[in-house]
Amino acid sequence: MFDEKVIAMLLEGIRDTLYMTLVSTIVGYVIGLPMGIVLNVTREEGLNPNKIVYRIIDFICNIIRSVPFLILLILLIPFTRLVAGKSYGSTATIVPLVICAAPYIARVVESSLNEVDAGVIEAAKSMGASNIQIIFKVLLVEAKTSLITGATITTGILLGYSAMSGTVGGGGLGDIAVRYGYYRWQTDIMIVTVILLIVIFQIIQNLGTFIAARLDHRKK
């Protein structure tokens, strides 16, 4: 159906898409996870309430999350150029993806941690646990399943956003879909890229759900 060139291009697209999605998820978590922990810890009922810190992070998260991704992508072009050296291609796209993902991840992590039973935290306190011990040995352990579910959802969203970045030359399957499907009217290539995106999304989602279920000991 397709010649070798197209197949090679699609394979490259898959590789770039996975590269953007996974790297931005990982870097997003490197920034977002500590932010989410700080949000949980500094909230009013948290381990170490601190209104000022909470409000600052809360504000940053809300501001970034209220800008639609496509606009953020364009707004951040100068910054992206500064960090990645250029403003197009898959590596460059990771910059806005991370900036978009980090506050989202912070929120997802915060809500997962907020769900941890206050009684369990109190029990740990009564044993003489320090706040750091409670964060790493209780909060993150108890919220494990919920955190993995959150990470799965985040990865799915970043997959979609990475495709969206194709409109501004971001590379990957989204880029192919825009170039061939939109500019050249090659519907067949566009449909193939869409199917590939669906398949990748399904794999990520099912893998996430499977891991979360395997690690959950709450109901068995």
Binding site: G119, M127, A129, E142, D216, H217, R218
Partner: protein, 337 residues
């Protein structure tokens, strides 16, 4: 020796723009090796009181002394060390759901920086103590309430604490399970000599295993002493209500109720003599039994009866004297039964 001393403890909570006083000038001391009950209706402040003992709740005023050490004077680190010497169990067990039984028990040891191997060895010993050895690989969700509390007790004992605080530890359990958990606590108290503080709203818990009891009402200590004494002769309404399990309401109608009521308490040895039958035969007048019950108070059976006496005041006095002579504790009852 005094293990826990609570001096003039006051705790106020700021809620929006008004202050709620949860505890108001409570003072009591608990001896080493004692099983001490703190009882009160819900909202009386007893949970705040027990949570003050390990400073989960910082007092607004007053002092907590553990073996003579004022907790307020400790640094954060010292306080954490102190807390590891005070075990605590809860109504909702509060086990870590994502860890299995063995790891849950290892948890306080891990926090204290013990080696994994050592922690596991200790955890296995404790599982034996609470009779849960075969469940070491189970997760909390696979256990019943009573089993969860057993694991929680083992966890609380892992660091060899001198004190065990029980915050409504049996309130979520059925009567049989409650009994088995209370027996376990008693056993631990005897074996390890650990001081146990039990917070409850159930009088039966106190009469079953506590030697001493404090009654808390509206944030204040209203009555304190040996369980036996308070059970025999409750002075305050709060104590009477907790013993009878009913709210006392004073209605003006009662003043017209001419029948005189007394509450008698007898222990095992006096239960051999048919006191009531003899009483009726002797005075040749009707006695109305309004309520009768037996209870296990600190290991001895205590009978409790509420009697309605005839109207004649002389006979009333004579009956009361007769009962007192037979070693029964007699008190007047003014409320409805």
């Amino acid at each position: 020796m005094k293990e826990i001393e609570i001096k003039n403890l006051t705790k106020k909570f700021e809620i929006k723009d008004h202050t709620v006083t949860a505890l108001n000038g409570v003072s009591l001391s608990i001896e080493k090796g004692e099983i001490y009950g703190i009882i009160g209706m819900s909202g009386a402040g007893k949970s705040t009181l027990v949570r003050s003992i390990n400073f989960l709740e910082r007092p607004t005023d007053g002092q907590i002394l553990i073996e003579g050490v004022d907790l307020a004077e400790l640094s954060k680190k010292e306080l954490r060390k102190k807390r590891s010497e005070i075990g605590m169990i809860f109504q909702s067990f509060n086990l870590i759901e994502q860890k299995n039984v063995l790891d849950n028990i290892c948890f306080p040891l891990e926090i204290a920086g013990k080696k994994k191997k050592e922690a596991r060895k200790r955890a296995k010993e404790l599982l034996g103590l609470v009779n849960m050895t075969e469940k070491e690989k189970s997760y909390p969700s696979q256990l019943s309430g009573g089993q969860k509390q057993r694991v929680a007790i083992a966890r609380a004992l892992a660091t060899n604490p001198k004190i065990l605080l029980c915050d409504e530890a049996t309130s979520a359990l059925d009567p049989q399970t409650t009994e088995s958990i209370l027996n376990l606590l008693k056993d631990i108290n005897e074996k390890l000599g650990i001081t146990i503080v039990i917070i409850t709203h159930q009088m039966s818990v106190v009469t079953d295993i506590c030697q001493k009891v404090a009654i808390i009402e509206n944030g204040q200590l209203v009555e304190e002493g040996l369980v036996e004494k308070i059970f025999e002769n409750p002075k305050t309404d709060a104590a009477k209500e907790l013993i009878s399990g009913k709210k006392i309401t004073y209605s003006p109608l009662e003043e017209f109720d001419v029948e005189k009521k007394i509450r008698i308490v007898f222990s095992e040895n006096s239960a051999y003599e048919p006191v009531i039958s003899n009483l009726i035969l002797k005075f040749n007048s009707p006695i109305n039994i309004l309520k009768a019950d037996t209870r296990n108070v600190g290991g001895t059976a205590k009978g409790e009866m509420i009697l309605g006496l005839p109207d004649d005041e002389d006979i009333q006095k004579a009956i009361i004297n007769y009962l007192k002579e037979r070693g029964l504790s007699v008190s007047e009852v003014t409320e409805n039964v």
